[in-house]
Amino acid sequence: MNPFIESLLVFTGIHIIAAMSFYMPFKTGQVSLGQAGFMGVGAYAAGVITVKFGLPYPVGLIFAGVFTGLIGICVGFPALRIRGIYLLLLTLGFAQIVQVIALTWDYTGAHDGFQGIPYQENTFWYVYGTIIILILFFSRLENSSLGRAMVSIHEDEEAAEVMGIDVVRIKLLAFGLGAVIAGVAGAMFAHYTTYVDSRSFGILLGVEILMFCVVGGVTTYWGPILGAAFLSLLPEGLRTLRDLMELIPLAVTDAIPKGDEIYDWLYELLDFENEKRLIVYGAVLIIMMIIRPQGLLTNKTVRQLMFWKRPSRDA
């Protein structure tokens, strides 16, 4: 595979996994801006396993998942009692703490960053294999009693508890699983870039993950997947559009008054280098909030798309 395309798809895939890690606790109504922090924990945990202990990559991935999950449960306990904007701030604070530890912990290179993480050449397959496992996981969860219990907690926590749902444990489970998923994503990221530092998993990444989910829609797991894929590929898509502009014959621009200037302006506009992608994200977010605040995909649209397997009762 073309290495450029491959790296684009790998990062898109990691974004998709990260977006699903946001969706997991969100199913019970917990909004976390700390998923980037969990990715950081996973990245460093896996790095310690492969670099410091010399153990194989899969061991690193599993350890990253388990370790991040435990950290997630620890963060989940205080998160149980608070919600809304306060939970956002708590998780944001957690992501900050992770950054500061990464910046100051000498064992993993402190401010020099964690270097020399072994490169995993099959990352593409690991990433997309994980995505398939997660899709299977979420599709089963969605149609299960546990999944319904989670949604009921999101809808009305007190009513759910009175209906016999063990709200505390299910919320902790959801938060912990979200952390596991994020940790694995971070571990795969680290073994693809071979270098991570405190800035790799900053607040901005947490906000981006939130954006993936908001743009894609959060009533079904397909929303975050689509949102992450769409926003990650959009800047490259626009750049491709620019490259295609070069195919426009000169005669066309000459024919339009001020054609040259428009052409140059568009050409400049569509040139999305890495940092400029945030402009696209911001614009997409604003447009989405106006024309489709519920996100690209909702439960209803998915049900309509899957009309052939709509459950029916003919008795």
């Binding site: 009693s145 009305d156 009513a159 508890e161 209906m163 063990d166």
Partner: protein, 266 residues
Amino acid sequence: MPEASTHCTLHAEGLTKRFGGFYALRDVTIDVQEGHIHAVIGPNGAGKTTLFNALSGTLAVDSGEITFENQRLEMLKPYRRTALGIARTFQNIRLFEHMTVIENVMVGAHSRSYSALWGAFSGAVLHRPFAQPAVEKTMRDRAFELLDFMGLGQKMDENAEDLAYGERRRLEIARALAIEPRLLLLDEPAAGMNPNETHELDEHIKRIRDRGVTIVLVEHDMNLVMGISDQITVLNFGEKIAEGSPSTIQSDPVVIEAYLGEEEVL
């Protein structure tokens, strides 16, 4: 009047709940006989809903004890009480609005199908491909049966938020029945209903009682209360002022004064 059975399902004694200097409940004692429809009435602010919250566990009482079938309840969290067989509805209907009607009922059945989180997790995720676990099918059938019982079978795939008012009330009851309760607490089930709907509700409540569920209900509709109750407890300003059969209550001077006193203020 039929002779009350001697077996007492729910016994609450000396329940007291203070909000600052205000007593929402003051030394309230209530005995609910098995198989009865037991109404709790009283003017607005008498503490009826507070009593319900205390019984279902969404509100901790300051003192007093609650016993349900020889189990002490005061220290148990709401979901533990539900597991023991106590279900409730809310005065302001609290459905899971964005879930379908049948899903709402299936949430009620969750605690009956899976007692442990691991069971629920493995039941959700670890099963044969292309197959639904048998538990899931049982839950769905049972939920459908309850919807049918409450006259909502046709609406199973609609979102709860799209139902008409009376249907929403009935769905809340169906959801509570999915818990397979032995005690059902109904908080103003007839509020906002027209006489026709109230009459239907009356029938439903009796049929639920006939299924072997003991019912405690808070209600303002006196026709409904006097018609179906075996026993009535009257609260006023957080205190129990009278208790007895509908005919005793109707002629009790203290009760009449409590209600007429309110009429005068209006």
